[in-house]
C-alpha cells in the first residue's frame, strides 16, 4: 500500500503540488490523469524519492520514505518518463547491477530478467550498450528494472509511451499480474484509453491539486485485455514470425 499525505512541492513561486493526499491500496491500479503541468510527474518523482516534498509524507508499504528511505525504496519500483542509464553498460549488466543493489538472489533475478526481456522483445539486444538503444527500448529497459524485484509499490510515469503494441500489451499484462499479487500501482499516462482499460480508480490532478477521484464504476468500462485493433496487429506480428506474407 502507498499513502501520500498532504504532499506539497513548489518550484520557486510555482506550486506544483498543493496538499495532495490519497492512498493506493495493495492490489489496486490507480491511474493518474492531468493536463501538461498539472503536477503528475512531480507527484510521481516525489513519491519515488527523487525529490523531497516541501511538506507532507510518503508511506511505501509501511515505511516512511523520508525516514526509512532504504527500506521504502527496497519495496518500490519506478519506471521513469525519461529514463537515465549508464550508457556504456549493456542492458544485462544494468539489470544485474540493479539486482545487486536490491540484494536479489542472482539466479532468480537472472531468470526473471531473461524472461522479461523475451516478453518485451529485448532478448537479442541484452548484451549491447544501452547507448545503442532507441527511445522505446530504453523505456522498456526502465520498466523491466522497475518490476524485476516484484515491488510492493510500482510507480509508472508515462511508462508505456514509446512501446510497440506487443510490448505495451505485455506491460499491461505484467501490471495486472503484479496487481494480482498485491502490488499497489500508480500509473500516470496522457492516454486516457490506457487508463480507462487498465485502472481500478483514477485520480485527476489539476494545478497541483486532486480535482477528482473516480472509481471504475464512474466510467463504466470493462477491463479488456486487448482491443480489436491490437488483436489485428498482433495477428500480423505473430503471423510474420512464421513466414513472410504471400
Amino acid at each position: 500500500m502507498m499513502e501520500l499525505i498532504d504532499l506539497t512541492r513548489s518550484y520557486g513561486s510555482l506550486r506544483a503540488l498543493d496538499g495532495v493526499s490519497f492512498t493506493v491500496r495493495g492490489g489496486e491500479i490507480v491511474g493518474l490523469l492531468g493536463a501538461n503541468g498539472a503536477g503528475k510527474s512531480t507527484l510521481i518523482r516525489t513519491a519515488a524519492g527523487l525529490q523531497a516534498p516541501d511538506h507532507g509524507t510518503v508511506n511505501i508499504a509501511g515505511a516512511d520514505l523520508s525516514k526509512d528511505t532504504i527500506p521504502a525504496k527496497q519495496r518500490l519500483g519506478y519506471a521513469a518518463e525519461e529514463p537515465q542509464f549508464y550508457e556504456e553498460l549493456s542492458a544485462a549488466e544494468y539489470l544485474a547491477f540493479v539486482a545487486g543493489v536490491r540484494g536479489l538472489d542472482p539466479a532468480i533475478a537472472r531468470r526473471r530478467a531473461h524472461d522479461l526481456a523475451a516478453r518485451f522483445g529485448l532478448s537479442e539486444r541484452m548484451n549491447e550498450p544501452v547507448r545503442q538503444f532507441s527511445h522505446g527500448m530504453r523505456k522498456k529497459l526502465s520498466f523491466l528494472a522497475a518490476i524485476l524485484h516484484r515491488p510492493a509499490v510500482l510507480l509508472c510515469d508515462e511508462a508505456l509511451e514509446g512501446f510497440d503494441a506487443e510490448a505495451a500489451l505485455a506491460a499491461k499484462n505484467e501490471v495486472r499480474a503484479l496487481a494480482a499479487t498485491g502490488c499497489a500501482i500508480l500509473f500516470s499516462s496522457h492516454v486516457t484509453e490506457t487508463i480507462e482499460r487498465l485502472c481500478d480508480r483514477v485520480v485527476i490532478l489539476h494545478r497541483g491539486c486532486v480535482a477528482r477521484m473516480l472509481e471504475r464504476s464512474a466510467w463504466g468500462g470493462t477491463r479488456e485485455e486487448t482491443s480489436a485493433l491490437e488483436r489485428e496487429f498482433l495477428s500480423v506480428i505473430r503471423g510474420s514470425a512464421q513466414g513472410p506474407p504471400q
Binding site: 532504504i70 549508464y86 547491477f97 543493489v101 548484451n127 550498450p129
Partner: protein
Amino acid sequence: MNSAPPAGSPFRLLHRNLVRRRLAQFDVRLRLEIILLVAIIGAFLFWQARVPLDGLRRANGPLAAAAALAVILGAIALGTGLLIAGRHARQLRAPLPGPAWLALPIPAQHLAAHWAWEARLLALWGGALAPGFIVSATGIVPAPVLVLLSAGFALALWACAHLATQLAERRVLSTTHRTARPADRLLEVFASAPTTETRRRRRPARWRRTPAWLALLHKDVALARGHTRARARLMAPVVLVIASCAIWLLPPSTDRQMLSAAGLRFIAFALALLAATTFAEFLIELAGADPPALLHGLPLGAAAVWASRAAMAVLFTLVLAGAQTLSARPLAPMALGVLVVWLVAASLAITLLGVHYGMTLASAPVARRFLTLTLAISMAASIMIPLVGWIVLLTAVIHSARRVPRWARLEAER
C-alpha cells in the same frame, strides 16, 4: 571567418541567456568560495612574483621589471590562446551538443562562430591569473606603465582568443576537401562528426549476490573497462604510477643534483602524487557518470556510495605504495619507510578528496576544478610555509566529508 555572429543574430540573445543560466547554477556560497579561491591564488602569485620583480627593479631599473611583467602577461595570453585553440578544434570535430543544429536554417559559419564563443570563455581563466601579477608590480613598475601593461594584456588576451579560434577552424578545415567552399567544408565537418557508433556487444553480465556498495564497485569496474570517459581518465594514473616506479631504475649520480638519491626520491614522490591526483579525477569522472534519477530511485544510501568509491581510493593507494616499496630498493629501510608513510597519507587524502567532491558537487567539471584549486592551494601553502599544505589538504578532506551525508539531497537537486 569565425568572428562574432552578425548584429541582431539570435545567438547574441542565446549567449546572454547561457551566461545568465550558467552563473545561476552557482549558489551564493559557491560563488563566495570561488572568489575566495581565486583571491588565494592571486595572493600566491603576488607572493611569488613580488620579490623577483623588486630584485629586477633594484638591479636593472623599473623598465626591466616592466619588461618581465610584460613577458609573464604575454605568456598567460599565449597559453590561454593555445587552450582555446585546442578546445575549439575538439568542439568542431565532435557531435554538436544541444538542439539539432544542422536541421535549423543557420549558416555553418554562424554555428562555428557560436562554438568559437564557447571556446573563448576559457579566456576568463587566463584573465583570472593576471591580477595577482599586476598587483605584485605596484610600486615597482611606474603606474602609467602598469596601466598600459594591463590594457595591453586585455587586448592581447582578446586577440589571442580570437586568433586561436580562427587558427583552430583553419586547422580543422584543412582536413576536408579543399575544392569545396569554406561554408560547405564547415558543413562537411559538422555533418561528418561521429554521431552514431557501430553496434557493439559487451560480454555477458555477471549476476552476483553482493552488498550494495560492492554492486556499485562492480558497476564502476565495468564502466572503467568500457569505452568511457572514465577509462580514458584511468590511463593517466596508470602511466604515472609506472613512471614513478621507473624513476628508481635510473642510476643515482653524485654529479647532478636531480639524479642524486634525494632528487630521485623527490621526483618519484612528485610523480606518485600526480598519479593520486589523476586517480582522484578518475573517481570524480565515475561520480559524474552516475545518473541522478537512476541512483536516487534505488535503495542506496550515501554510506554505500561512499564505501564503493573509498574502496577504490584505498585499493589504488595500496597498489601505489606497494609498487613504490618494490621499486625503491636503492633507499635505506628508514628512508623507504618515511617515503611510503607520506605517500600513503597523501594519496589517501587526495583520492578521498576526489571521492567527496565527486559525490557532493553539482557536476564532474566543477568537482575537478575544486580538486585542482584545493591541491594548488595546498601546494602553494607548503611552498610558503613547510607542512602548512597538509593542514589545508586535511581540512579540505574533513570539510568535504561533512557534506557527504547530504549526498541524497544534493543528488536530488542536480
